[in-house]
């Protein structure tokens, strides 16, 4: 039944997922390996302090934050930009491929000619996307936890879990949005482009709202702002994460309803 689509979704992306996990783990290891030399050079803090505000803002270098602490360093180097970027690329790619991509390639027709409800199809594919995101986040968590004692990051494991939870929530939102856009239109380009553009906008709002006053009222619309920046130093915003997850589910359900109502594209 529809569970087969979850299985197949994971199977089809298996190789890509293994590649992502290794790649991200390697990147995390590289960043962590540089930490001891940052920690031992206090002038680095001064250098960062002299950055323009826009840069500091964008890279999540908080006022009073300490880039020479393990948590501060990883917040700036991983959690403010690189990890969300990588996880979102994975999530949007996977969400777009599994529905819009399959329809574009004409492979959805045979699947939907089987006795399945379309909404179950979307939910099963959504579960596969979620499983991929969670897998990558867990791998990142394990990598950081293993590196922590080796390079002396001195992290709080609770904060690390919060940071990864926020990361997964962001991935879920944009991955499921890509899936839902595929439910609305049979176009892989839309399914990649719309979530990617929205994510880029939301990221800028979150990074720059303090500097550009007129953006400030819109910060509530940015999932990046909602889950909280510098999660390793100050923790993730639990309510924000909850809101993002709830909106993610709403988006997925909307996508399944939209697919139910429209005509399948002729291959």
């Amino acid at each position: 039944m529809a569970a087969e689509l979850l299985r197949r979704g994971l199977r089809d992306h298996r190789r890509a997922l293994v590649g992502w996990c290794f790649g991200i783990a390697a990147y995390v290891a590289l960043v962590a390996a540089i930490f001891p030399s940052i920690e031992s050079s206090p002038e680095f803090d001064k250098l960062v302090e002299s950055y323009p505000d826009v840069l500091k803002s964008l890279f999540g270098i908080a006022e009073g934050g300490d880039i020479t602490s393990g948590a501060g360093y990883l917040d700036v180097e991983l959690f403010s930009l690189m990890l969300p970027l990588l996880v979102l690329v994975l999530a949007i790619g996977s969400g777009a491929r599994t529905l819009a991509g399959e329809e574009d390639a004409g492979r959805l027709e045979l699947v939907l000619s089987y006795p399945l409800r379309r909404r179950d199809t979307v939910l099963a594919k959504g579960a596969a996307v979620a499983a991929e995101i969670v897998t990558v986040c867990v791998v990142v968590g394990i990598a950081i936890a293993l590196l922590d004692p080796l390079v002396g990051l001195d992290l709080s494991m609770g904060r690390l879990a919060e940071a990864l939870g926020a990361l997964a929530a962001l991935g879920l939102l944009y991955g499921w949005l890509a899936l839902a856009v595929g439910g609305a239109w049979p176009s892989r380009a839309f399914a990649i482009g719309i979530p990617a553009a929205l994510a880029a906008g939301a990221y800028l709002v979150s990074g720059l709202h303090e500097l550009a006053g007129w953006l400030d009222p819109f910060r509530f619309l940015s999932p990046f702002w909602l889950v909280g920046s510098s999660p390793l130093q100050s923790g993730a915003d639990g309510w924000g994460v909850l809101v993002v997850v709830v909106v993610s589910f709403a988006v997925l359900v909307a996508g399944s309803v939209l697919l139910e109502r429209r005509d399948l594209e002729t291959p």
């Binding site: 039944m1 529809a2 197949r8 004409g106 045979l110 000619s113 089987y114 006795p115 399945l116 002729t266």
Partner: protein, 303 residues
């Protein structure tokens, strides 16, 4: 579902984007135990009809039912009775044939492994190579197996023998006949009269979104013209053929005579020709488009 027709459509219509009328007021009735041939040129609305039957697209007007189950509101139970071979079959390239069939069986939620193996053996399916390495014909065989392997009450096939060699085309025809003999229904869509005429009991002809005619395949063949080219040893006398019923002399060129004749007149044509020494005789079935033109002439009084 007992007693309900395998397919019933009432005024079934589909208009794309509010302007392209792909199907107009289709009334169709297919009973269990019959092979129904659905014949029309490319773009006539055959695939639109099939996609409506499968609930892949929604009708603009009218309704379609499979064993009494509305394809729009009761699509899932309706599709339990269905096996479908798409006209443009796309499989997952990386899976092997075996993996693809197993995955599809799990998707349906039931598997008759012995029937699947029997079908695979009968059609000579290549099971252990990735789909992307298979020829068009070998992919088509996998598509046929998945359409039949759960013993559906109604099999919907869109150009099923495309890409198959003649031996396998025969095997598929046998499979269709056996399915009908088993009391199940087959809906066979094609643009080729040849694919349909040897296996279908009745034939529906569709053109430009409208059902032009539904007829027993026999009477369709009787009306179908043959193109006959006879080469005589010396110049023939065309008037000998002109008097025969339904026969029209198209051209004479020295010893070569071309004429068109309906199938029932063929005997008289051959006998008339045999009065002279014949070098060669070629008879070819008229193509579908000509049969349509014929039908149009009949239906619209010369229009």
């Amino acid at each position: 579902m007992s007693g309900a027709p395998a397919i019933e459509t009432v005024g079934l219509s589909k208009t794309y984007d509010g302007k392209v009328r792909a199907l107009v007021g289709l009334d169709l009735h297919v009973e269990p135990g019959e092979v129904f041939g659905y014949l029309g040129p490319n773009g006539a609305g055959k695939s639109t009809t099939i996609r409506l039957l499968l609930g892949l697209i929604h009708p603009t007007a009218g309704r379609a039912a499979v064993f009494g189950l509305d394809t729009r509101t009761e699509g899932v139970p309706a599709r339990r009775h269905l096996g479908y071979l798409p006209g443009d079959l796309r499989l997952s390239d990386r899976l092997t044939g075996r993996e693809q069939l197993e995955s599809l069986a799990r998707l349906r939620g039931r598997l008759d492994a012995s029937l699947r193996d029997e079908l695979c053996e009968r059609l000579g399916v290549v099971l252990d190579r990735p789909i992307r390495q298979l020829s068009r014909g070998n992919r088509q065989k996998i598509g046929l197996v998945q359409a039949f392997m759960h013993r559906p009450e109604l099999v919907v096939l869109d150009e099923p023998t495309a890409g198959l060699d003649p031996l396998l085309q025969n095997e598929v025809r046998d499979l269709l006949r056996e399915t009908a003999a088993d009391g199940r229904a087959v809906f066979l869509s094609s643009h080729s009269l040849d694919e349909v005429q040897h296996v279908a009991d009745r034939v529906g002809i569709i053109r430009a979104g409208r059902l032009v005619d539904v007829d027993a395949v026999e009477s369709l063949r009787e009306r179908a013209l043959r193109h006959v080219t006879i080469t005589f040893a010396e110049a023939p006398d065309p008037s000998r053929f002109a008097g025969l019923d339904g026969v029209r002399v198209v051209a004479t060129d020295g010893p070569v005579l071309r004429l068109s004749a309906p199938e029932p007149a063929m005997d008289a044509v051959v006998k008339a020709a045999a009065q002279q020494r014949i070098v060669d005789l070629v008879s070819q079935p008229a193509d579908l488009e000509e049969i349509f033109l014929e039908l149009y002439r009949e239906g619209h009084d010369g229009g």
